[in-house]
């Protein structure tokens, strides 16, 4: 218990120190605070994107699912994410970053408002980003609070753990903005990945090596080593639907998108795209195999007990000193996503909300001050919702991934197709989301609602654009150069 608190205190001191250092380097302009002056280098950019992508779900949900489904969990997720996450960085992120620099846009919503010369496009994007991001943040806070209560045997009550995570992320985010969140993500990414890989190697060694561990699974339940195509997720409809969802959703996370806008150079972005597929093997393989091995050692677990299989395996097969800091990997993963979400939503509230209703032009420092205040307000709202919302939030968060996908036609066509109009963008978002919500959770369709929603969003966006006059040449010239 004392050891846990010492480790926690050292971690908190480290991230706060990073926040203070980032604050001293800040220039005081919105571009500097919200986008780190558009100067993120390759390592920081990679860890910022990867850290944001690596959530606590990797240590909880994935091993729990692999415990029941076997290595199919890896097959259905890792390869398609490894291909399309960096590919969409190239297809959407690169032109978006170029356009944002030309238009001096600081947020994704502001970028698309200026691209179309239409404030409604940005306003709608902002609304949908918020609707889909807040439940996602609430689930992260709930998850962190449970982990902290668990590892301290209840000494840190869930209300206190959740509050602590939110306040610490808020403090260093407010101090140093994007620079602080990106730098802390480097630290958090190393903690997370380091622990994951170390746990994997130590557990494998404790089981007698990879061969012995696999042989044990083959004796116990060989179906865990193959893909069971009779299960819904692995049948063609489920496979295609889920593949489409996870391959397109990451680029539409506003907190990922904005980090691409903050890249210091295209060279840095190329390095990220080259490394991403390999890094995803390191991210996905250990938790899946640990979950599969766990099924042979602790058989018969159900529900939350099987969701805890990763920590159960760590406790049983990793030296106590390392197992004792395992919770830090979960906290680091939660915070590395939460800080980015806090910053991105607060930046959109300032740039796409407050600045539009102000009667006089915004002062740069006032924007940064307002961003900090909005971050406090969002943190308070998320913490309150985490306290009030029951498990239903997990159901809503499940819709989030699909919801983000309905926005990808606008994100893609907006930066790649000059003929795409504001009316087309608005129609695409409204129709796509209307279809998604109408079908969710869906009549018994072979393909999930997101497939139909995505198709509807594309048809509406392209169809309405072609029916409307071409966009104004001056606006296009400003955006596309």
């Amino acid at each position: 218990m004392t050891g846990v608190l010492v480790v926690l205190a050292v971690y908190v001191a480290a991230v706060l120190a990073v926040g203070v250092i980032a604050n001293r380097r800040a220039g005081g302009t919105p571009e500097d605070y919200f986008l780190a002056g558009r100067r993120l280098g390759a390592l920081v950019l990679f860890m910022a994107l990867f850290g944001t992508n690596a959530t606590a779900f990797v240590l909880v949900g994935i091993p729990g699912r692999a415990y029941h489904d076997g290595i199919g969990v890896f097959s259905v997720n890792a390869p398609i994410v490894a291909l399309f996450t960096p590919f969409t960085f190239f297809l959407i992120g690169v032109p978006a970053r170029r356009m944002a620099a030309r238009l001096r846009a600081v947020t994704p919503a502001e970028l698309y408002s200026r691209r179309f010369g239409n404030a409604w496009v940005g306003a709608l994007l902002f609304v949908f980003f918020t609707i889909y991001t807040v439940p996602y943040m609430v689930t992260a806070v709930k998850g962190a609070s449970v982990v902290l209560a668990d590892v301290t045997d209840g000494a840190i009550a869930p209300w206190l753990g959740g509050l602590g995570v939110v306040v610490i992320a808020l403090v260093y985010t407010s101090l140093g903005g994007m620079r602080a969140t990106a730098w802390t993500n480097v630290l958090q990414g190393f903690i997370f990945l380091g622990f994951l890989v170390a746990a994997f190697l130590l557990i494998a060694a404790d089981l007698g090596g990879l061969g012995a561990a696999t042989a044990r699974v083959a004796d116990h339940d060989p179906s865990l080593l193959a893909l069971d195509r009779t299960k819904e997720l692995y049948r063609p409809g489920g496979w295609i639907s889920w593949g489409l969802t996870i391959s397109l959703t990451v680029i539409a996370f506003p907190h990922m998108f904005v980090r691409l806008m903050a890249a210091g150079s295209e060279r840095a972005m190329k390095i990220v795209c080259r490394l991403y597929p390999i890094a995803l093997i390191a991210l996905w393989l250990p938790p899946v195999l640990i979950g599969v091995w766990g099924a042979t050692i602790y058989p018969g677990l159900e529900g939350k007990a099987s969701d805890r299989i990763f920590s159960t395996m760590v406790e049983g097969h990793v030296p106590a000193a390392l197992a004792g800091v395992g919770f830090l990997a979960v906290i680091a993963a939660v915070m590395s996503t939460l800080d980015a979400q806090l910053l991105t939503l607060s930046s959109m509230l300032v740039r796409d909300g407050l600045d539009r209703v102000r009667s006089r032009p915004a002062d740069a420092r006032a924007d940064v001050r307002a961003g900090r205040l909005f971050a406090v307000a969002i943190a308070a709202a998320v913490y309150t919702l985490a306290s009030l919302w029951g498990d239903s939030v997990f159901a809503i968060a499940k819709v989030s991934f699909s919801g983000y996908v309905t926005l990808t036609p606008v994100l893609f066509l907006g930066v790649r197709w000059r003929r795409f109009t504001a009316a087309g963008a608005i129609a695409s978002m409204l129709v796509g989301n209307a279809v998604l919500w109408y079908l969710w959770p869906g009549p018994d369709l072979e393909l999930a609602p997101i497939v139909w929603a995505l198709a509807a969003a594309i048809v509406a966006g392209v169809g309405v654009s072609l029916m409307r006059p071409a966009p104004d040449a001056t606006t296009l010239e400003r955006a596309f150069g």
Partner: protein, 66 residues
């Protein structure tokens, strides 16, 4: 369309087709004494995806700044 774009497009389509591998039989085969065939197939696929991204970055992606 430039030749490099065509190659990238075909490479990407091939990866998608290979990911939709409903035709592939399920066999209880293990490589190197521990690696199940299912996992080996996905890992090789991911190496091909890595190659694809290296190709895109090296050939298709023209930087606007240097």
């Amino acid at each position: 369309m430039r030749r490099s774009h065509t190659i990238a497009l075909l490479w990407c389509l091939a990866l998608v087709v290979l990911h939709l591998d409903f035709w592939r039989p399920v066999r209880d085969v293990r490589y190197f004494g521990w690696l199940p065939e299912e996992l080996a197939y996905r890992l090789v696929w991911m190496l091909l995806a890595t190659g694809f991204m290296w190709y895109v970055c090296a050939v298709v992606w023209r930087e606007e700044e240097r």
